[in-house]
């Protein structure tokens, strides 16, 4: 184990990973004066430099070591600033860094010709610096700074096209649900993203300070070492609430229920932004936070934290179901991907949650993280491909596409590959293995309610396969849409995008298949790494968990030691069957409806029941409307009344009086300064006299 204080050796690289992008952001405005190309290369260069620094840390993951480097920061509160490079953060940092790099390369092509790109690059660099800060910081406070940084960057980038041109909106204009507009401008979407994540952040801050009050520190390692605070908090039944409050931040940032609405409208940002922030990195920050704190809480209180893990698991499951159902009904391609992201993250939360509810913590933990890795890869690829589609077609609606596989072969091939991974096509895609790992974890846990969770997960997998095939079918198969025909008439023939645009997502798509082919080994290796990590740094081993479960003091009714299912070829047979089955069912339905066009999707509107269901899903379960009525329109109306009758009358009066008295006093002082030297000297003399008297008395 490498424990370094200060900056020796490889510790510098850990600091560099998050500091380099910030430096890039600081100088980008100046560099932009030297030329557009230089600016773009500089931005990509900094992303590359950060990624390379991250790569040098990979050996740490394999040798199960960590680098912990600290400096004195706020001495008065005994706070140190530091970075922690352990297997978890090293893997995540690399994932973030390399995907960011690919997306940066993609951006140079995708955003070509846009105005204000300096602002774009500034916020992109600021973003990856903040994200790496979240990943690598060794204490909750610095993590929180990074957290806020990604929120700020997200707001700025979602609202990038703040002039609110019609074509940058999201949603269908005129579509209202429950009286609330379901279409949004970029500036509105940006504000909504910021505010909703703030709600989560407030909870997180409350949790952080609660823990700080009892423990006197924010650092992860310090919290693990001196466990007195946890015992105290558990005594006062505050430990679980504090953990749930921290999870509140994750709910906000990862767009889980009930703070999921912002993610859909965040699609007003450029596709590269959606790929980076809303697929691969920022929304994963919530999962990462849970991955950081879950072992900590589990190590401290083991089965005393079952409530917390239940909340995590069920929120994840509910979100997965909620959003997958909405993805089935939506006509915009980026929105489908956004729903899908939220849903997949639900899977990750569910997996980590279930880890705390089983006697094999490592299994669920690894499954969640495995899903994070694979999802980051294929979702980023899908968003980038969707961006290419949008760009060429000139519309965000899948109904305006159709038959594109003839014109955009490369985009089609790679998006197809990535989509198969999302749908979890058996055996050859990474998505299959990660989803299978989650199923296995759920089935293999000893949680008494694992069956309902599993059924939900299964249904979600079916829906995922379905909407994925739907998306591919509507965009790439079928007849040309009227919109496309019009485009052709005006001479804009749909064409393939430039290599600099499709190569980045091609790389990711191919990777998801390439690693998918050996996915079983990859998953096993990952589990090995994490099992060692959990055992070494947190003392969480299977034997220990079984012991705790047998101990009457720490036992719980929710978790039972499970009987090991016989493994078939190393796989849990039920899980494998479920994975195959979900893909088969969902895929078959999707194929029939949208690819082979054997069944016409329009039959939905014919039947009144299905039409009703479809409308319900299309209107996002009316949750958005409820949110606006309850949290915006209602309080604003109440406030108007208060303002008219209280604030306006009373406060105006007080502020006038205050202003008057201050100004008079200032005028008196000003009058004293007469400008005449003798006066000054006289005052000087009198002053001396007074001081002498004061002293002598």
């Amino acid at each position: 184990m490498v424990e370094i204080t200060g900056f020796g050796g490889i510790a510098v690289n850990v600091w560099l990973v998050w500091i380099l992008p910030f430096i890039g952001a600081a100088i980008i405005a100046g560099v932009a004066r030297a030329g557009i190309k230089i600016r773009d290369y500089t931005a990509v260069g900094f992303a590359l430099a950060s990624a390379v620094s991250a790569t040098t840390l990979i050996p740490l993951a394999f040798s199960n070591s960590e680098v912990h480097s600290q400096v004195n920061w706020i001495a008065v509160l005994h706070l140190k600033a530091g970075v922690l490079g352990d297997p978890l953060s090293v893997i995540m940092a690399n994932l973030v860094a390399w995907i960011s790099f690919l997306i940066f390369v993609y951006s140079t092509g995708y955003m070509h010709g846009e105005r204000d790109l300096t602002r774009y690059w500034f916020f992109m660099l600021f973003f990856i610096g903040s994200m790496q800060l979240v990943v690598l910081s060794d204490n909750l406070l610095m993590l929180f700074f990074g957290w806020e940084g990604v929120g700020l960057a997200s707001y700025a980038l979602v609202g990038f096209w703040y002039t609110d041109r019609k074509k940058d909106f999201v949603g269908t204009e005129g579509h209202r649900a429950g009286g609330i507009a379901m279409w949004a401008s970029p500036s509105h979407a940006g504000a909504k993203a910021f505010i909703m994540t703030k709600a989560g952040d407030t909870m997180m801050l409350a949790g952080m300070f609660l823990i700080f009050a009892y423990s006197g520190t924010f650092g992860f390692k310090e919290l693990l070492q001196n466990q007195g605070w946890a015992v105290q908090m558990a005594h006062q039944n505050l430990l679980v609430p504090a953990a749930i409050l921290l999870f509140g931040g994750a709910i906000g940032k990862s767009a889980q229920f009930p703070l999921n609405e912002w993610l859909l409208e965040a699609m007003t940002g450029p596709a590269s932004v959606s790929a980076l922030i809303h697929a691969a990195t920022m929304v994963k920050a919530g999962v990462f936070l849970v991955a950081r704190i879950a072992p900590l809480f589990f190590a401290l209180a083991a089965f005393g934290m079952t409530q917390f893990f239940e909340v995590v698991a069920w929120v994840g499951a509910i979100t997965a179901f909620l959003l997958a159902s909405q993805a089935i009904a939506n006509p915009e391609i980026k929105k489908v991907l956004a729903y899908s992201t939220g849903s997949q993250i639900g899977y990750m939360m569910m997996a980590i949650g279930i880890a705390g509810l089983s006697t094999n913590f490592a299994e669920g933990y690894t499954a969640g993280f495995f899903q994070l890795i694979s999802h980051a890869m294929f979702k980023a690829a899908l968003f980038m491909g969707a961006g290419a589609l949008l760009h060429v077609v000139g519309s965000r609606f899948m109904t305006d596409m159709g038959g594109m596989r003839k014109y955009m072969r490369k985009t089609y091939i790679f998006m197809f590959l990535a989509a198969m991974s999302l749908a979890a096509a058996p055996l050859i895609t990474l998505g299959f293995w990660s989803k299978d790992a989650i199923f296995a974890a759920v089935l293999g846990s000893g949680y008494v309610h694992s069956l309902p969770l599993f059924i939900m997960a299964f249904v979600v997998a079916i829906m995922t396969a379905f909407y994925t095939f739907r998306m591919i079918g509507m965009s790439f198969f079928g007849k040309k849409s009227p919109h496309l025909e019009e485009l052709e008439k005006t001479g804009h023939h749909p064409h393939e995008v430039r290599p600099i645009v499709w190569v980045p997502f091609a790389i990711l798509a191919v990777a998801t298949i390439a690693i998918g082919v050996v996915g079983f080994a990859f998953g096993a290796q990952l589990q090995h790494i994490f099992a060692d990590y959990l055992a070494k740094y947190f003392g969480i081993t299977q034997q220990k968990q079984l012991q705790l479960l047998q101990n009457p003091a720490t036992t719980t009714q929710l978790v039972k030691p499970h009987t090991d299912t016989k493994l078939f070829l190393g796989l849990n047979p039920y899980a494998a069957a479920a994975s195959f089955g979900a893909f088969a069912i969902g895929g078959f339905l999707g194929y029939m409806f949208y690819i082979a066009r054997k069944i016409d999707p329009q039959i939905i509107s014919k039947n009144i029941v299905t039409r009703g269901i479809w409308k319900f899903l299309y209107n996002r379960w009316y949750l958005n409307s409820a949110l606006y009525w309850g949290a915006v329109i209602g309080p604003v109306a109440i406030y108007r009344i208060i303002w008219r009758y209280f604030e306006f009358t009373v406060m105006e009066g007080i502020s006038h009086a205050f202003e008057f008295s201050m100004a008079s006093f200032s005028r008196v002082v000003k009058a004293g300064q007469t400008g005449i030297t003798q006066t000054y000297l006289f005052v000087f003399g009198v002053g001396i006299m007074i001081i002498i008297m004061l002293l002598l008395l």
Partner: protein, 100 residues
């Protein structure tokens, strides 16, 4: 010891005269005189104490002080000359364009 009291009394009286002159007089040169009077009162103090304590440090400091006061006055007079060139008078009470 008696002598010491006398010297110190004279110094204090000079100090008072200096302060009076500084506050009351309006002519810049007269103000500089007053400041010089105060400085010399201090010097007188120093020399008296030095004599009383049989310690040359006081007289040494008095010499320093005289030299420095001379330099100070030189600078001050330079400023006053410029003032005369600009305003054609050196009545300090008239220099009050900056106030408040």
């Amino acid at each position: 010891m008696n002598e010491l009291i006398d010297f110190v009394t004279v110094a204090v009286v000079l100090f008072a005269i200096g302060i009076y002159g500084l506050v009351v007089k309006r002519n810049a040169i007269r103000m500089i005189f007053s400041i010089e009077i105060i400085a010399n009162a201090a010097n007188l103090n120093l020399i008296a104490f030095s004599r009383n304590l049989h310690n040359p440090q006081g007289q040494m400091f008095a010499l320093f002080s005289i030299a420095i006061a001379a330099a100070e006055v030189a600078v001050g007079l330079g400023i006053i000359i410029i003032a005369y060139r600009l305003y054609k008078e050196i009545d300090v009470e008239e220099f009050r364009s900056m106030k408040g």
